[in-house]
């Protein structure tokens, strides 16, 4: 079993994000970068498959700048077998990332692709779906449980109304939800071994893809400050204020 796990580099969720004054992006000084938490869950799930089927190979892939090596190394330290970095300079839109990943998948020929349902920076929630479409593979998004048997994959997914169970023949694409697992942390021997694992860099130009962006980020803005709360005397007053002031009723 070969599993491809695309990962993204994002600011640590604990970092306070500051939007640049001109709205062109966020201030990146003092930002600590980590693997997107949902992707970390994807790495963990792939490693669990490998633990059950030791002949498996887990390949992590990132589409980004040279600094993204750090997150690939972290995934290697967790236990992934090798890494691929497709080098590209921003801006890159989701469509381009999906096309690049589809190309990497065509070369690597994995049985399964597992990735986060979304990245915590832009929360797009698009790559997994686009990738499955480009490859013509089945997809199961928002997975909270994954089981593999006899060339098929059974996924329990979290949907608004409850849980849904899907089953599809491999190869396919899975995107992970928060409750799928708790990712492991790297062991010290894992960190040491990761230095010796293969990390292949591919300049994006060599892929010969048309990556003209379809999406343009015009401006980033901070959400408006939360207003202080107000105490009301009764439920009736609350209802009337929700109606007359907040206009939500």
């Amino acid at each position: 079993m070969k599993i491809l796990v695309p990962i993204k580099r994002v600011p640590d969720p604990a970092t306070t994000i500051r939007v640049l004054a001109d709205g062109s992006g966020i201030a990146t000084d003092n930002v600590k970068w980590v693997i997107n938490p949902f992707d970390e869950i994807a790495v963990e799930e792939a490693l669990r498959v490998k633990e059950k089927q030791p002949a498996s190979e887990v390949v992590v892939v990132a589409v980004g700048e040279p600094a993204w090596q750090e997150q690939l190394r972290t995934a290697l330290a967790m236990g992934a077998d090798r890494a691929v970095l497709v080098r590209i300079s921003p801006p890159v839109d989701t469509g381009a990332v999906a096309r690049i990943l589809a190309r990497v998948a065509a070369d690597e020929k994995p049985d399964l692709i597992i990735l986060g349902k979304q990245a915590i920076d832009d929360d797009s929630n698009q790559i997994g779906q686009m990738l499955a479409e480009l490859l013509g593979w089945p997809q199961a998004t928002f997975a909270s449980k994954v089981e593999l048997a006899d060339g098929r994959c059974t996924v329990v997914r979290e949907v608004d109304g409850g849980l849904e169970t899907l089953s599809f023949p491999l190869p396919g694409v899975i995107t992970t939800d928060l409750r799928l697992n708790e990712p492991r942390y790297a062991s010290l021997p894992g960190i040491m071994k990761a230095r010796k694992k293969e990390l292949k860099e591919i300049p994006v130009e060599t892929l010969g893809l048309n990556l003209a962006p379809l999406l343009k980020v015009r401006r980033l803005a901070s959400p408006s400050k939360r207003q202080a709360g107000r105490k009301v005397a009764s439920a009736a007053e609350l209802v009337s204020l929700l109606h007359s002031e907040a206009k939500v009723l």
Binding site: E70, T74, A77, S187, P189, G190, I191, R195
Partner: protein, 387 residues
């Protein structure tokens, strides 16, 4: 010149933080209150291979340096303060004399067990009648065939409640029969045999999850194979571990200090009194800024001392300076954190009182601030020796 951590060092910092997230404040608060050793934490650290950070590869460790060990201890102290740090501190560097001078068989037998976490070791040097003046210890080891018979008392022996072995310093020649007071001392890696050693826990100010004890040693029979290196050279072997210990303790101080500053800053932004966040008052903000600055300086000199040690360069002065500045900075940071939280700072639930109690020991042990200043006066400034 390069101030950047290596990729492996950055990974270690990240990995240790991830590990420590599984042991939140409540875990440490509860273990401190219950005086209970943090076994789950200790085993998690062992399982992830960190106890072997500085132990050579052929004995199951990772063979990295004191710089990596210091980063580990800094992050551990940042997360769980001294209860966390002291639970693993001795495993990380304590067996340096064994690594450097122990017989091959001793190393092969015990070091892998230290790395795996199976073997807790204590460090029995200090005695009631010989505090900082180690050469005046009275515990005596008398040779008896293939054994030594040891008698004496040790005080402040940390982890003796959980330890199966102890690195013990004893005289093998009485002080009055030696030409130099540093001669005639021998180091043993002895069994902490409860039949011959009474271990009595001491009540202390803080760090209650990790015990500190007084040991009454009564005819403890130790096989001669437990002697570390050569008889009579124990004091010199001990010196090899002193600089690493000072560096690690300095790193721990930076960690606990940073934890305190973080708590205080978060609180100062949120707590509104007289219609404004208390952090808007410079009387609250400036001391925190100062504590932050002092911790940064202490961190720098600590990493420099570790780097020197790992380059096999002299680092005695830097290690003493690091210990001195870091312990002071940590104390100041924890004190200011308590002050910033006001009445809540004095309450268990808010954790900073625990930091405050725990960080106080860093000004006393393993090297007091006074002795650090003595070292700098004498060995760096070349002032006449005062004692």
């Amino acid at each position: 010149m390069d101030f950047e951590l290596t990729a492996v060092q950055q990974e270690i910092v990240h990995g240790v933080r991830q590990l420590c997230k599984r042991f939140p404040d409540a875990y440490w608060r509860e273990h401190d209150a219950a005086h209970e050793f943090p076994h789950a934490f200790y085993h998690a650290v062992a399982e992830a291979g960190y106890l072997g950070v500085a132990i050579p590869g052929q004995y199951g460790g990772s063979g990295l340096g004191i710089a990596e060990a210091a980063l580990l201890m800094r992050e551990v102290a940042y997360a769980g303060a001294m209860n966390a740090a002291s639970s693993i501190h001795l495993s990380i560097f304590g067996l340096t004399p064994v690594v450097l001078h122990g017989a091959e068989e001793m190393k092969r037998k015990y070091l892998p067990e230290v790395v795996s976490g199976k073997l807790h070791a204590a460090f029995a040097v200090t005695e009631p009648d010989a505090g900082n003046d180690i050469t005046h210890i009275k515990t005596f080891a008398r040779r008896d065939g293939d054994y030594y018979v040891i008698n004496g008392r040790k005080i402040f022996t940390t982890k003796a409640q959980v330890a199966r072995k102890m690195l013990l310093l004893a005289r093998t020649i009485p002080l009055e029969n030696t030409s130099r007071k540093t001669d005639g001392l021998s180091l043993f890696f002895a069994d902490l045999d409860r039949a011959a050693v009474e271990v009595r826990e001491l009540e202390k100010l803080g760090r209650h999850a990790v015990d500190t004890n007084i040991l009454f040693i009564d005819n403890l029979r130790v096989p001669a194979t437990d002697l570390v290196g050569e008889e009579g050279r124990g004091f010199r072997y001990l010196l090899d571990g002193l600089n690493p210990e000072r560096i690690l303790v300095a790193a721990e101080a930076v960690g606990i200090g940073r934890a305190a500053v973080d708590r205080a800053v978060r609180y100062a932004k949120e707590r509104v009194v007289f219609g404004r966040p208390i952090g808007q008052n410079q009387a609250i903000a400036h001391p925190l800024a100062e504590a932050y600055a002092k911790l940064e300086v202490a961190d720098l000199i600590t990493i420099k001392a570790a780097w020197l040690f790992d380059q096999r360069k002299p680092c005695g002065a830097e290690a003493a300076v690091a210990k001195l500045l870091a312990a002071e900075a940590a104390f100041q940071a924890c004190d200011r954190a308590v002050q910033t939280l006001g009445g809540y700072g004095y309450m268990r639930e808010y954790d900073v009182e625990r930091y405050f109690r725990e960080c106080r020991m860093l000004k006393i042990a393993p090297l007091s601030q006074e002795m650090a200043l003595n070292m700098i006066s004498e060995h760096v400034l070349r002032l006449p020796r005062s004692y």
